[in-house]
Symmetry: C2
Subunit: 235 residues, 2 copies
Amino acid sequence: MQHLIIASTSTVHGSGYLEYILEELSNHFKNAKTIVFIPYARPGGISHNAYTEIVNTAFSKIGKTAVGLHTFKNPEEAIKNAEAIFTGGGNTFVLINQLYKNNLLEPLRNAIKSGTPYLGTSAGSNICGLTIKTTNDMPIVYPPSFNALALVPFNINPHYLDPDKNSTHMGETRETRIKEFHFYNTQPVIGLREGSWLEVKNNNVILKGPHTARIFEHGKPPYEINPETNLTHLN
Amino acid sequence: MQHLIIASTSTVHGSGYLEYILEELSNHFKNAKTIVFIPYARPGGISHNAYTEIVNTAFSKIGKTAVGLHTFKNPEEAIKNAEAIFTGGGNTFVLINQLYKNNLLEPLRNAIKSGTPYLGTSAGSNICGLTIKTTNDMPIVYPPSFNALALVPFNINPHYLDPDKNSTHMGETRETRIKEFHFYNTQPVIGLREGSWLEVKNNNVILKGPHTARIFEHGKPPYEINPETNLTHLN
């Protein structure tokens, strides 16, 4: 009975924080007044308080309050009792490292599996997959494991970027990186472009937003899917 | 008495594999006929044999032969006895994972510290730093540690890319990522643009090639340095 929004990004170009998805969130969080916010990914190294402030400003527009998980004495209890949960973006390694340090992977998985509505953006979406092995982030800290929440039977690649055909840069394209991932791992990867999200209701997975998404399955050429495609059978 | 070339990339746009640096390598490897090649990073998932073949074709132009480390029964002995060593690019996580699995970090460090000439490109350059925490690669395998060879007292960021001012993409720029690194780590990072390399002779470190490099020191604004700058005191 899980209910998740797994979003590529918090912010689309030219619009405010979470602005593009606020209407959707108003519905997603309709039974929650207060949302427990996990600020661990710390984008740009900002403080947990400053990050929670940004989130609060956005949520206030739909009549919700965000409370930073770092302000609770017992974060495990806070997650267990949460009406709703949001994990924001930043650095995926920093995020998962802190979740492991605080022994929160299991409580978080249990809460979401029992129906607590969840929103993830960017790093907060990466952790919904089987592993964080398809993050774009720099490995600035060494976490005890790359295993993630496994709420969906595949991996996420947020901020998916198409190869730039005019580029003279020799670093790998995103597609090359994900193909390399499949030399060592077999689960599918969903490349989610900025402005796209996955809506997960129970085990139903549907692509939302204005863009197609790119699906990488082991041993198959990658392909595009349209918005509203049901991905329930992808695993 | 170490002697290293730490290069941003194996290939610059519009030129063949190692072509831009062959003349330099002819001098760097002047006392070696055979070069032990470490193909573990497997760019694009190609086989160790296929990768060694590409390297061999390039080295044959300066009268050298590359022998893949994977062809030796005892890779530790092969490194100990090598006339020269080259570690190619690909995925840094895959590379360091394989080096740990085969217990080769220490033998490799010892060989280079005792004077065996070394060339690294891309992933093969990342491992020369203190850690691989400033790699651009996707973490497709989980290595036992991010600690690297520590042949120089800083970290490398190869394929360094300036922010694209016209981009509407919301993913982090390289500079943002390296700044985030400095919230958790204090060593300097050298952003090496494609076509640049560091020449390390004993403890002397000099920037070579046509481009400036970008230096990120903890607690300082990043700055550019010109080719031929001596970086010996950076740590």
